[in-house]
Symmetry: C2
Subunit: 197 residues, 2 copies
C-alpha cells in the first residue's frame, strides 16, 4: 500500500464516517460513499473488501479521535471539574448536528444492537473510554468506588439529552438540560466534600 492508496483510504473513512452519522450505517450504500469521495464504486474492493471492514475502520477512527480529545483536555485543564464540564459541553458545541442526527456514538450502537451486529462490542468501546476517563476525573475530585457509577450516570444523562433533542428537533431543550447537568455536577462534588474524603 503506497502513499496514494493510504490517502484515498483515509478519504473513504472520512466520508463513510460522516455518512454513517448522517444517514445511518445500513442506509449508507457503497454508491453513497463512492459518490461522496468521488471515485468509482468498484475501486472500493481494493481498499475495503466488505462493508463491515469500512465500519470497523470508522469505529477505530472515531475511537482514536475520542481518546485524543480526552487526552487533550487532560493536558489543557488541570481542574478535573473543568475537564468534566468540557465533556458536557460536547452537547452544546454540537447541538446542531445532535438536533439533526443524534449522538454519533449512541445512534450507531442503537443501530448495531438492532441488527444483532457483532461489532456492537467494538462500537460501545466509544462509550467505555469516555466512562473510564470520566471515572478518573471524578476520582481526582475525591470520589471513591462510586466514581465509575457516577461516570455512567453522566453518560446516560448526555445520551438522554441527545435522544430527545433529536426526536423533538429542539435545541432549547438541550441547552436547558446542559445547564441543569452542570449544576448537578457542582452539587455532586460539593456533596462529596461534605462527606469528607
Amino acid at each position: 500500500m503506497g502513499q496514494k492508496g493510504e490517502a484515498l483510504r483515509q478519504r473513504i473513512v472520512v466520508s463513510a464516517d460522516q455518512l454513517f452519522y448522517q444517514k445511518g450505517y445500513e442506509s449508507t450504500s457503497f454508491s453513497d460513499i463512492a459518490d461522496d469521495v468521488g471515485i468509482s464504486r468498484g475501486n472500493f474492493y481494493y481498499h475495503f473488501k466488505s462493508k463491515d471492514e469500512i465500519l470497523n475502520a470508522v469505529i477505530e477512527t472515531r475511537l482514536t479521535e475520542i481518546e485524543q480529545m480526552l487526552n487533550e483536555w487532560s493536558k489543557q485543564y488541570t481542574d478535573p471539574k473543568q475537564r468534566i464540564v468540557e465533556h458536557i459541553d460536547i452537547l452544546t458545541n454540537h447541538q446542531d448536528k445532535i438536533k439533526n442526527h443524534g449522538c454519533p456514538v449512541g445512534s450507531l450502537c442503537a443501530e448495531l444492537a438492532k441488527q444483532n451486529h457483532s461489532m456492537l462490542r467494538d462500537a460501545n468501546k466509544m462509550f467505555a473510554v469516555q466512562r473510564d476517563w470520566l471515572t478518573v476525573q471524578l476520582k481526582e475530585l475525591g470520589l471513591g468506588k462510586e466514581a465509575r457509577q457516577v461516570a455512567m450516570h453522566l453518560l446516560a444523562r448526555s445520551q438522554g439529552i441527545a435522544t430527545l433533542t433529536n426526536a423533538f428537533e429542539d435545541q432549547n431543550f438541550l441547552r436547558q438540560e446542559v445547564k441543569q447537568l452542570k449544576q448537578w455536577l457542582g452539587e455532586q462534588i460539593q456533596g462529596q466534600n461534605k462527606n469528607g474524603n
Copy 2:
C-alpha cells in the same frame, strides 16, 4: 372492509410493530412481516398500499397503547407520585427487551430522524403524550410552570438509561439507575414542599 380484512390488518400491524422494534423499520422488509403473519407478500397491497402506511398504523397503535396505559394508571393510582413511579418502572418491567432492542419510542425516532423521514413528527408524539401526562402528575404534586421541564427531564433520564443499557447489554446498569431516578423523584417532590406551594 369486512371483519376478516380488519382482523388480518390488525395482525399485520402487530407483527410489524414487533419487527420494527426488534430489527428497525428499514431493516424490516415486506417479506419479513408476511412471513411472520403467515400470508403472501402480495396480499399486503390490499391492506396497506405502502410501507409508510404500515409505519403510520404502527405509530398510531403504539400511541393508543401508551395513552391507554397512562389513563389506566391515572385511574388505578390516586397518588401522582405513585403514578410517576409506575412510569419509571416501565424500564424495570421491560429490561430484557430494552437490553436487546433499546426503547421502542426512542429507537424509532432516532431511525426516522436519520432518514429525514417526515413521520418523525408523528413518532415523537409518543414522547409528547408521556411528557404531557407526567406534567399533569407533577403539577398535582405541587410543581408550577417548571413541571413540564421536569417531565422532559424524566423522559431524558429514561432514554439515557435505555440507550446505555442497550449499548452495553447490561441490565444491572438499568436497575442501578432506576433506583437513583426514584430517589431523585422523591427529593424533587420534597424540595417542592419545602418551598411551600
